[in-house]
């Protein structure tokens, strides 16, 4: 028995997969990382237990913080819930609301989420939170051009900047996979992911080193359910980036080409497998490099910018 699921339901599954698998992916990477360091490591399900525990805890807020401070985690979470509607998480064809935004639209939503959290952190008056807020916006400003050039490269490759279209273009033939522009844009995007998920070169994503903290410092003043929502949102953001890398740039195979239940379930399993492989790769990279001084981040961004601009050059000027 293999019933065909209605498209709106599959779209809900897309959002559900990112929402539910996000913390699991973080747990898996933490486990792999611990193994690489010779430790036993936490359970893979630990992030779920942490989030559940935080939901039961009391929430406190700084006395001077306004309602925006309490609203920001939910704004960010809503943004992270919207992005999976726009990207090919499980299917190779567009679902209802799937074409309401392109890659730039997804980028705007990510930026809105980051802006909400940074503004709320700046409002707390806590020096660490403000430091994180200021750093994330400063470095965000220098990674934006990289993302823009990746979008330009995608637009030149496909003639549109819809994520579904790029995935279809990559699937269309071997010539599309090995063309330099595609590989350069994918490499640049991977470097952006390393930066955005706090893996390299300066930040410790588990937030123990104040000097290298960027994103982690912003949640310092949150507690209870608000912190739970922030943590959950952060793991969803990581999952969204992985989905974009896997299902749009690197390996858009294994997606459901129709609405049958078996195809959708297989697509979920394929996505989890592919995300786990990328997670292992990221953990290995993260553990093979020494953490650098904060201002060395420009070198990483310069490398990513170089790749992204070269992608556009080879397409626009070189025809490759």
């Amino acid at each position: 028995m293999n019933p065909t699921l209605p498209d709106p339901l599959i779209q809900i599954f897309q959002v559900g997969t990112v929402t539910l698998a996000g913390p699991g992916l973080s747990g898996f990477i933490a486990r792999v990382e611990a193994r690489l360091q010779g430790r036993r490591g936490p359970r893979i399900l630990q992030p779920y237990y942490d989030i559940a525990k935080l939901f039961r805890k009391e929430a406190l807020a700084p006395t001077d913080a306004s309602g925006f401070f309490l609203m920001a985690p939910f704004v960010a979470f809503a943004c992270y819930l919207t992005i999976p509607l726009l990207i090919p998480v499980l299917t190779s064809y567009g679902l209802p609301l799937g074409y309401m935004g392109d890659i730039l639209g997804g980028g705007f939503l990510l930026a809105l989420a980051s802006f909400a959290i940074a503004t709320a952190a700046a409002e707390t008056g806590s020096p660490y939170a403000q430091l994180g807020s200021s750093r994330s916006k400063t470095f965000g400003a220098i990674t934006e051009p990289v993302v823009l050039f990746v979008v330009f490269a995608v637009a030149l490759l496909t003639g549109t900047d819809l994520p579904y279209a790029l995935a279809a273009t990559v699937r269309s033939g071997a010539g599309q996979i090995v063309r330099p522009a595609h590989l350069l844009a994918a490499a640049a995007f991977f470097l952006v992911i390393l930066y955005e998920t706090g893996r390299i070169p300066v930040e410790t994503h588990n937030g123990t080193n104040e000097f290298g903290m960027i994103e982690e410092a912003r949640s310092f003043e949150y507690s209870g359910p608000y912190l739970a929502i922030l943590r959950w949102g952060s793991s969803m953001k990581q999952m969204i980036f992985y989905v974009l890398l896997i299902n749009v740039f690197l390996a858009p195979w294994g997606l459901a080409s129709n609405g049958s239940l078996v195809a959708v379930v297989l697509a979920v399993l394929a996505l989890l497998g592919k995300a786990a492989v990328v997670g292992v790769g990221v953990a290995v990279i993260d553990n093979s490099f020494a953490k650098l001084r904060l201002f060395k981040i420009t070198q990483l961004v310069a490398a990513a910018f170089l790749l992204a601009v070269l992608a556009v050059f080879t397409l626009y000027l070189g025809g490759g």
Partner: protein, 224 residues
Amino acid sequence: MSSATPPPSVFDGIAGVIVVLVLLAEFGMLHATLLFLQLRLYAAQSFLLSVLAGVAAYAKHVPELYALAVLSCALKVFAVPATIRRLVGQPSQEIAGSGVLGVGTRTLLGLAVTAVGFFAAKAWHIHGTFLPSTALSLSVSVLLVSFVLMIVRRDVVSQAVGLFSLENAVSLASLVVAAAMPLLLEVAFLFDLLVAVVVFGVLIRTHQLRRRSFLTTDLTELRG
């Protein structure tokens, strides 16, 4: 979908990726902070060129290119870096402080000359027999970036490596426009390079023995 750039053939795509990696190796040399890292990057760049010659030989059935690939691999990947290493003789010395410009400015300058390379090669309307024309554009870019490397790094090793990689860029361009050039000529060019390497190696060694550093900024005796 009509405005999409049509994909190259698989061979052109693979050749393009190798040539892009050659350019990235040049950028790596521009930013390298250790002497030996720079030499390794040069060896990697030369290896990529040999691979490209091998791929072109296989795909387009030009057996002479196999000989060129093997010779160039033996000389540029092993002999040249080993000679320089032997003549310099210092383990992993830093050349980090020799950049006149910061990382960001250097990258932007490199990208600007890369764009010039693309525009210049496009204006020539030359189409290679074996390799895609993107490779010619990129070879001009590699050549220009190697000039930038020699200009903005004020240490003798970078300047020598810049010159050697410039030769790599010229080899790449010759692979595109004159891949069927007589093998004897190619071999003569390679041995010319070896002479240059020995001369530069001796100069580097003399400079290092006299000044105890690789920096050319220490050459102040003839300054007014």
